[in-house]
Amino acid sequence: MAQAAVAPPKTSSDLIARFGGIPLAWVGVLPFFLFALLFLVLPSLSLFTGSFTAADGNFTLQNILDLSRPDIVSAYTLSIQISVVTAVLGALFGFFIAYALVMTGVPGPVRTSMVTACGVASNFAGVPLAFAFVAALGRTGFITQFLRDTFNYNIYDHGFNLYSFLGLSLTYLYFQFPLMVLVMMPALEGLKREWREASQNLGASSFQYWRYVALPILMPSILGTMILLFGNAFGAYATAYALTGGRLQLVTIQIGAQIRGDVLHNPGLGYAMALGMVVIMAVSILAYTWLQRRAARWLQ
């Protein structure tokens, strides 16, 4: 902050500015910081302190320790599982589609339509998405009936259940892979044509080009987006609740139940669960940011 040598205060606003120690120039960002303080920072801090508060109001670490309770551990495990599964599958599926759109001879209009479709799909989550899947894959759903009537194959008789891990994963994938497509397309376009030509020139086959040049360059983007997908699924509440109604004990569902009525019989534990979630998300975002920087360096 290079300020010129300070002249003695001449006006009252100068006085106020200097009195606060804050240069007048900061007034423009004050609303934003105030907003962030009131509606982001303080609520989070409140949860944070809550997780270290016992029923009698004293400081305690017991809430954190209680996170190792089997039902809570299994909730985290389940959430992480579904997030990892949908992140990996979404990333793979999305990558191949992005590759198809950017690097093969698919015609322009098809490409634009697909990009728009992915844009819509990645924003279409929550209650409407859950209902669409119920209408499609529920017990009396369109696909279920179609398979039953045409192939005489009732998926529900064979163990499929929409309101399960598998069903929720399929639903999550609906917005996961389009997100991957949208992020990977610019990354694939960032692969310079000359790199492929140079490698061809040096005698490399297509496989060798991908193995030694293209995939290593793309890896930070791929991994970074996978982490983004992970965070996306991990923090999701609406879709899970609308679809399974609380049947699947994910962390977000448990926290929701806790908010409604103290089902854990220990508010501090609820806050500790929230803290645990925030920690996991924070680690994800850090990894994502680091990978993004790596990607930007190479794809510039």
Binding site: P31, S46, T116, L137
Partner: protein, 270 residues
């Protein structure tokens, strides 16, 4: 390139199928509300429901307010940071990343914990408990929405400001004698139209269907209404789901026309 085009089509078709089949399934289902009749009865019933209109209008109102506050707050901040306080950029960008770290469920959890009591610094009470009245709870609701939309709005506006070289425009305007308000409303905002519109449409898409914050704050929004509907009815939820999809699609198409070639925005899961 020929062999790979076959593979290309394969993946694209697979993707299209995945996206279309559930929607088609829902659409087909929504048409069968009346026995043996393919019709739009479910839609008619859904739109005839008073509660639908009540909550839908409420959510639209909240969306509008959130958009206005969002725009004012973010344009001011992004502009200020770019022009006067570039050293604050890392902090501001960090704040815009926070909504990813604090998803909606956690956010509303924190709001309830913090704001069911007066906000106090020592013995001085700064704010009454915001969860006490409908109006003040709506404030929390709008604040939550602004937070959810923050990352996308900020990125959109920031890119927009960069694209129009805001510093030079401001200096030109100042040399011609314009004051701050003139600059903001007659020069900056009009040039940011595309960025603002796309941010606004995205905010709209987030807000109208939002479930988590609205439910736990107990506000009569469209998301909770849909959720409740799904517990009692079968065909109407499917119909509204299709309607909601069309709405989102419409918003995205508008965004596409407005931005035409600049970065696409996505919001991900709720």
């Amino acid at each position: 390139m020929k062999r790979s085009t076959v593979w290309g089509w394969f993946w694209v078709i697979l993707g299209v199928l995945y996206l279309v089949i559930p929607l088609w399934g829902a659409f087909d289902f929504s048409l069968r509300a009346e026995r043996d009749v393919i019709g739009f009865a479910a839609y008619a019933r859904a739109f005839a429901d008073d509660d639908f209109w009540r909550t839908f209008i409420f959510s639209n109102q909240m969306a509008l307010i959130s958009i206005v506050i969002s725009v004012l707050l973010i344009v001011l901040t992004a502009y200020w940071v770019q022009l006067k306080l570039p050293q604050l950029r890392p902090i501001v960008e960090f704040i815009t990343l926070l909504p990813f770290v604090i998803p909606a469920i956690i956010l509303v959890f924190g709001y309830i914990k913090l704001y069911s009591r007066p906000l106090a610094v020592g013995p001085i009470s700064l704010l009454p408990p915001l969860t006490n009245t409908d109006f003040s709870t709506n404030i929390l609701l709008v604040a939550g929405y602004v937070v959810l939309a923050l990352p996308y709005m900020y990125r959109s506006v920031d890119n927009g400001l960069r694209a129009i070289d805001v510093r030079t425009l401001t200096e030109a305007a100042q040399s011609l004698g314009a004051n701050w308000i003139t600059i903001m409303f007659r020069i900056i905002m009009p040039n940011l139209r595309a960025a603002l519109l796309s941010g606004a449409l995205l905010t709209f898409a987030i807000v109208v269907g939002e479930l988590t914050i609205a439910t736990f704050l107990g506000r009569p929004a469209f998301g909770p209404y849909l959720q409740l509907l799904g517990q009692h009815k079968a065909y109407e939820p499917a119909a509204l789901s299709i309607a909601s999809f069309l709405l989102t699609w419409g918003a995205m198409i508008l965004i596409y026309f407005v931005t035409r070639g600049t970065e696409t925005q996505t919001t991900g899961a709720h």
